[in-house]
């Protein structure tokens, strides 16, 4: 009997761990499943398709803030198209990234490698930059609509390509796209909305002016229109629910190792559903949504919440989410202040008062020292410390970059007379004084006393 009971517990434990594993992977792994922006996706899809099928040359820019699903969109389009035989056999996909290919030489080398041109032997490209470029252009020029494979160039971080010398690569790519050469499709992705202004006039003229804007949280074009926040709730539910028994192995092939017990799964899903009607939960999500609509940070938040699951902690409570949200919303400056010594706290208070009195003028060590000594002399309970020790504390504060030097920092000045700017607000200081454990009463009184 007891053995059987143990087994049952084991089963449950395992279940929660597997659930955690599944959820974490689901939250952290970017998918190729694309939500929203149906029209934009169709637009890109048509362009790429037409390049491959009719041999038309195209160029397009996907513009949207970070984490608005640009890469996901392109990935999902390519994934869907690669299921077609005609696409898979005919198209060459070249991926370039502005952060990796920091100049045209590197970009060209990798481009040649990815296109498997004649001067590539086992992944190494031979020849100088000029040779490679002319070779590549010859390759592209000698092809035409009907006899050569279409090439799809995907340029990530497109704005960084604009900083290259003379924009040679961009000019040549767009030039090929404009003339009767090999059919190519140039897809640029950038998070700068003014990316068109970075292009040189001749490059701009050759670009097709086809910009597709993506904004996160834009749900107006999705299948069933709903408000932006409802969509966030939907995402919350979607990311945290376990798969139903039918689509475990069919739809989500990449998660094939997690075969869930349907009974447990449905119970879990019901619970998650009930969470989305919880008032505290909805308020929390709403507050977070108002600050930041991006999906990535939301996923990070969920990952923190999910990782609290363990054998002892079998359910996701509302409190877990509240705790997780605290990690994302707390002020890190305050945390730094909590770790300072009392002497350093005193100096910070002195600095605060100094900035308040002189209305944000820069301060130096001597001023702070005088202010501190005045306080220490008035209160006999505060131990007086020697000047070098205070200097040491001051330097420590400086190293935490709470103080920033004003002007040039060369050794012209003695370090006591170097001017600094104080970067904390008085509110932050008062908050820190409140939070500081075991601060002497005199000090906290001094902090709150107005001058």
């Amino acid at each position: 009997m007891s053995k059987k009971k143990n087994m049952a517990i084991d089963f449950q434990d395992n279940m929660i761990l597997l659930t955690r594993k599944y959820l974490k992977r689901r939250i952290m792994c970017p998918e190729t499943k694309f939500r929203h922006h149906v029209n934009e996706r169709l637009h890109v899809m048509n362009l790429v398709k037409r390049t491959v099928e009719i041999g038309e040359s195209n160029s397009v820019l996907l513009v949207g803030p970070r984490d608005s699903g640009k890469t996901t969109l392109v990935n999902s389009v390519l994934k869907e198209l690669s299921a077609l035989k005609s696409f898979k056999d005919n198209a060459i996909i070249v991926n370039l990234h502005g952060l990796v290919h920091t100049d045209d030489r590197l970009a060209l080398k990798d481009l040649t490698r990815q296109m498997q041109l004649e001067n590539v032997v086992e992944g190494k490209v031979f020849g100088t930059f000029a040779e490679n470029l002319s070779f590549l252009l010859d390759c592209l020029k000698s092809g035409d609509k009907h006899h050569s494979k279409p090439v799809i160039f995907i340029l990530d971080e497109f704005d960084l390509f604009c900083e290259h010398h003379n924009q040679t690569l961009l000019y040549n790519l767009f030039d090929v796209a404009q003339s009767a050469q090999v059919p190519i499709c140039v897809v640029g992705m950038s998070c700068r909305l003014d990316v068109m202004e970075l292009l040189e006039k001749r490059v701009k003229s050759r670009f097709s002016h086809r910009q597709i804007f993506l904004f996160p949280g834009d749900t107006s074009s999705s299948e069933q229109p709903m408000s932006a926040f409802d969509d966030r709730l939907e995402l919350f539910r979607d990311l945290l629910s376990l798969p139903d028994d039918e689509n475990v192995n069919k739809v989500e092939q990449q998660y094939d190792d997690c075969t869930t017990d349907p009974q447990f799964g449905s119970m879990w899903n019901d619970y998650i559903k009930s969470l989305t009607t919880n008032v505290t939960m909805v308020n929390l999500l709403k507050r977070m949504y108002h600050i930041d609509v991006s999906e990535r940070s939301f996923r990070n938040f969920l990952a923190v919440a999910v990782s609290t699951l363990s054998e002892k902690h079998q359910k996701l409570e509302v409190n877990d989410f509240v705790e997780a949200s605290k990690i994302f919303s707390q002020d890190d400056k305050l945390l730094i202040l909590e770790g300072l010594s009392i002497l350093e706290m005193c100096l910070i208070i002195a600095m605060k008062q100094e900035t308040e009195i002189y209305d944000g003028e820069p301060l130096n060590f001597e001023a702070i020292y005088n202010r501190y000594m005045k306080f220490a002399n008035q209160n006999s309970s505060v131990q007086s410390v020697q000047k070098p020790v205070i200097m040491k504390a001051f330097e420590h504060i400086k190293n935490l970059e709470i103080l920033l030097p004003v002007g040039n920092t060369n050794t012209k000045f003695e370090k006591e007379y170097q001017y600094y700017k104080f970067t904390l607000t008085s509110q932050q200081v008062i908050e820190a004084v409140k939070n500081y454990p075991g601060l002497p009463t005199e000090v906290s009184q001094w902090a709150s006393s107005s001058i």
Binding site: K21, M28, V63, S142, D292
Partner: protein
């Protein structure tokens, strides 16, 4: 097939079923990074291939037999052994290709790696005509593919129209007759008198400078009398690399590897006996160097006795020769003749588009007022024909997508005035009208500063931030705004409206989020609080957009919060 270079081997994920051991949990994140890499597609493709290979066998068998008929015939004619389509008939190639290194590589690659057809084309351009057409353009298209192709593209007429409007097609150049005759006259004059000269052609991009030259160079009477060299200078790495390129194009022997004596070789060639040379340097402003030595020496070549060189430089700026080559003015024979290509006028753009449509037998795709409108809009901005053609192509795309899939809403983002219900009842072959043109033009010229139609997607707190910024700009005395000051005002605003304010770190984060929209710019890197905030958009425009909502308007006008 064997491994490819593009894939990186990652630790293979063990299959674990639901009741497996717990240790495997920590494998997750290695896989996660693996999935993030951009080269992710290759594996998926591979996977699908193995799945579908059995299905596709029937198709490829037919093609293979077709190929086998073709290939030996070709080989008889051409002994070189370069097979045009190695991809399709690997087995045959392995017997015949003489060059061992290539064959080795072929074996190493999987057939799926996109080893291109292009390469073969370069090696033997003469063979081009005899190349087996790509599978897609074969008549033996498998049926389901045919369906896939025809479905999204729409009716044939639209396709023709779009093809004819592509920027690449240049047969005749309406609106440039004058320039063409002028150019031809210039060339023939110099040819008859056996003198050399230099010509500088200027004009904004998209006015047909290069197209005109190409057209002249294609005429047979010009072609036979000249030796022609066309170089686009953007592909030069440095200004001096042009010499090597010219030598290569002229195929003069005697070039050293370092290419240092390139200039000397060309000058030697120029004084020797040779056919009249027509040297066309496109985008010549790319050759600017420190003392303009390259440009000077190139422009001095025509003045050499017996050089018989006609130099044509093309660039955008009108005054390039005056600005960077002032010394050329000093001597009369050095002074280049100037020619300017003005931007296309409205009527010219109209003519170009309508002639192109006429050629493609697709005149009724566009209504004349629609073209008129498009032409006038483009002419008013830049007169760039590339832009006009691109826009017209997009208009046709939009129109065909309306007709093919009425279920789907239009693909361009900011069209709101087209009711889908009305579209459905419309006739199938309706010409493109003004409405579509306006839609696309708005997309191209509308710019990015339209906050009003994204009201809902713009988060509340970010709106508050912008309102606070506007409040300071409108009412405050000190227009020098730092993030710290903005935060104080923002806190006041929030307090007054009973909205919970975010704290500093979130606020800085929010600033950078808005920055990605291009509304404001945070200047300075070091300490976030001391950074300056500059408004990028037009203040009045933003003001107007936000005044719509009652609360925002209140905030903007509430000077107490300062």
């Amino acid at each position: 097939m064997s491994g490819k270079q593009t894939t990186i081997s990652f630790p293979i994920r063990k299959k674990s079923n639901f009741y497996s051991r717990k240790e495997e949990v920590n494998e997750d994140f290695t896989n996660a990074t693996a999935k993030d890499t951009p080269s992710r597609y290759v594996p998926t493709v591979k996977k699908i291939v193995t799945l579908t290979s059995s299905e596709s066998e029937s198709d490829s068998d037919i093609e293979n037999t077709k190929e086998r008929h073709k290939v030996p015939r070709e080989r008889r004619i051409e002994n070189a052994g370069h097979t045009p389509r190695r991809r399709k008939c690997d087995d045959l190639n392995e017997q015949h290709t003489p060059s061992p290194p290539k064959q080795r590589r072929d074996k190493l690659e999987s057939s799926l790696t996109p080893s291109t057809l292009l390469n073969r084309l370069i090696l033997s351009p003469k063979k081009e005509g005899r190349l087996a057409p790509k599978q897609l353009f074969d008549s033996c298209l498998s049926e389901e593919e045919d369906e896939i192709i025809s479905k999204p593209i729409g009716s044939n007429k639209y396709q023709n129209a779009r093809k004819s409007l592509h920027g690449s097609i240049t047969d005749n150049l309406p609106g440039r007759e004058e320039e063409l005759t002028k150019l031809q006259k210039y060339l023939l004059e110099h040819l008859d008198q056996k003198t050399s000269g230099s010509l500088y052609i200027s004009g904004p991009p998209g006015t047909g400078k290069t197209a005109c030259l190409f057209k002249i160079m294609q005429q047979s009477d010009v072609r036979s009398k000249f030796k022609m060299v066309y170089i686009n200078c953007t592909s030069m790495k440095s200004a001096t690399a042009i010499y090597a390129k010219i030598i290569q194009e002229l195929s003069i022997p005697g070039m050293t590897k370092s290419g240092k004596n390139g200039k000397a070789i060309i000058e030697k060639y120029l004084v020797s006996k040779h056919k009249t040379l027509l040297l066309v340097l496109d985008e010549i402003d790319q050759l600017e160097s420190k003392k303009q030595s390259v440009l000077y020496s190139i422009f001095e070549w025509p003045s050499k006795p017996n050089s018989k060189l006609i130099l044509i430089g093309i660039a955008n700026s009108l005054d390039l020769t005056d600005r960077i080559l002032p010394r050329l003015q000093a001597r009369c024979e050095l002074k280049p003749a100037l020619m300017h290509f003005a931007p296309y006028s409205k009527q010219q753009i109209f003519n170009i588009i309508s002639t192109r449509l006429n050629e493609a037998n697709a005149t009724n795709v566009f209504t004349p007022p629609a073209i008129q409108f498009l032409a006038s809009k483009v002419a008013a901005f830049s007169g760039d024909i590339r832009k006009a053609l691109d826009i017209s192509r997009r208009v046709i795309e939009l129109a065909s997508s309306h007709q093919v899939a009425q279920v789907l809403r239009p693909t361009i983002d900011n069209d709101t005035n087209i009711e889908p219900s009305k579209k459905e009842t419309e006739a199938v072959e309706k010409p493109v009208d003004l409405k579509e043109v306006i839609t696309v033009l708005n997309g191209v010229y509308g710019g990015i500063q339209n906050l009003s139609n994204e009201q809902d997607t713009f988060p509340l707190q970010q709106k508050l931030l912008i309102c606070s910024l506007l409040l300071i700009l409108n009412k405050g005395k000190n227009k020098d705004i730092t993030v710290g000051r903005l935060y104080e005002v923002y806190r006041n605003v929030c307090k007054k409206r009973n909205i919970s304010a975010v704290d500093t770190s979130d606020f800085v984060n929010m600033c950078s989020l808005i920055e990605t929209r291009g509304i404001l710019r945070v200047v300075g890197k070091k300490e976030a609080r001391l950074c300056k905030v500059n408004l990028q958009w037009d203040q009045e425009e933003l003001d107007a957009a936000l005044q719509d909502k009652q609360m925002m308007a209140d905030i903007i006008n509430d000077a107490n919060c300062l």
